[in-house]
Structures are given as structure tokens and as C-alpha cells.
Amino acid sequence: MRMSKLVRTGADLLYPFALIFGLYIILHGHLTPGGGFQGGAVVATGAAIVIVAWAYEDVAGMIRKVTMKAQESAGLLLFIGTAALALGLGYAFFTNVLANSGSLFGLSVPFGPNPGELNTAGVIPIMNIAVGIEVWGGLTVILLYLLSGLKKEEGS
């Protein structure tokens, strides 16, 4: 069942905010506390707000289980692919090949205290994004599955 109109409106307003904040945490994992997992959890919680404010049937069309599962697998494949990139270049699995290389995310930082720059840290931001996508999908789909179990029980 839906919650009251006020909560629904509020959830709709909060969803973009939670999403952008989660993505901010994901992307700034190498500068501030946070990272792929935490940001993914924030995003998934944002989705949970919408799911709880509206009924399961309302959001089932917009936040779909299949998409979320695909997102999860895609995140994992991106993660393992990033790790295997080093294998292709002749280093060991999980080598940070992009760090200090000057290309994407390849700037180097001075040692010691500094405010930080987004475009650093090599493969770490990419892995953060991958894990973030995966956790986003995974936690959302867990919640959806549990709620779908609830629905089925009512039907029988």
C-alpha cells in the first residue's frame, strides 16, 4: 500500500538528492571517506525510500529487478575487467596501471597534506564506480525480492 501523499512527494524529492550524493561519494572515494560500497549503499537507500513510500506495484515498473540484476553483473564485470586490464598489459592481476601515468585519472599527487584533486589515483576511481554500480543493483534487488515475497504471501 502507498504511504500518505506527503511522504510520497518527499520521497520523490529526496531520490535525486540521494542519488547525486551517493554518486558524489562513489566518485570521491579516493579523496574523502567513502567509496564504491558506501556510495552504492546510499544510492540503494535512496531507491529504498522511493520503494517504501510508494507501493511495490507502483515502483516495480520503474525500478525493475531485471535491470538491477543486469547492473550488478555489469558492475562486477567492469571491476574484474579493470583488474584484468593489467593482465593484458603484462603486469599482475589488480595492478594499478593508470596511477601516475598521466592519462585518465592519472595525475599524481604531492606527498603530504593537500586538498586533493579528482583526476588522480589510477584505476581506483574506476573500481569505485564499478563496485558502486554493483552494490546499487545488489542491495536494491535484495529489498525488491524480500518485498515480492511479502506480496506473494498475501495473495495465497
Binding site: M3, S4, L6, V7, G10, P115
Partner: protein, 118 residues
């Protein structure tokens, strides 16, 4: 110096209202009146403590022009806004849930929701 006094004042106000909120939480007779005391007054108090931090950040920024104090102030502002926003919605949701589950306002003089949720 002025910033000092302002921060201290905000902190004092915040602490005072938070403490009163807890006292209300413990004293009031039923869930709705408790909610008046706690969710509102603690939100108000917490926003005031956040305001103290914002003033501190602003004052330090004016003193040092170090951009980290801007970040401090802005992020605290966001936290305070998010807090107020979610608390308002949350207390509404709890009140509605409580009323739907059949808890009536205990010493109420009038209850217009009687006809909606008998």
C-alpha cells in the same frame, strides 16, 4: 570575538532545546505529545548546533581564507537541511502510522480523525 559569542550562544540554545526535548520525551503522556517535544525540539536544537558550526566555519574562513572552512560550512548546511527535511517527514510518517494502528491521543479534547479511522 563576536563569532565566539555567537557560537557559544548557538551551542547553548541548541543544548538547551535538546535537553528540553528529552525531558519532554520522558514526561509527556502519549506518543503525539512526546513527538511534539522530541522531534521538533531536538531538530531545532540540532539545527542550532549545526548553525554554530557554520558560524565557526564562516568566521575561520574570514580569518584565514582557507577553502576547507567553506567546505565545512557548506556541508554542515546540507546536513542541517537534510536533517530538518527528513525529520519533518519522518515524524509525520510515525504519527500517521501510530494513528492508523489505533493509538488515540490520550487526553484529547477533540479527535477529528475518528471518522476516518474508527
Amino acid at each position: 570575538m563576536i563569532a565566539d559569542i555567537l557560537v557559544l550562544a548557538c551551542l547553548a540554545v541548541g543544548t538547551f532545546f535538546n535537553a528540553l526535548g528529552i525531558v519532554g520525551l520522558l514526561r509527556f503522556p502519549d506518543v503525539y505529545t512526546r513527538m511534539h517535544a522530541t522531534t521538533k525540539m531536538t531538530t531545532f536544537g540540532s539545527v542550532f548546533t549545526a548553525l554554530a558550526v557554520i558560524i565557526y566555519g564562516g568566521a575561520s574562513w574570514l580569518g584565514t581564507t582557507d577553502s576547507q572552512y567553506v567546505i565545512l560550512a557548506v556541508h554542515t548546511l546540507i546536513a542541517a537541511v537534510a536533517l530538518a527535511f527528513t525529520n519533518a517527514l519522518g515524524s509525520h510518517a510515525i504519527a500517521r502510522g501510530a494513528r492508523r494502528s489505533g493509538i488515540r491521543p490520550a487526553p484529547a479534547v477533540v479527535d477529528r480523525l475518528e471518522e476516518v479511522y474508527p
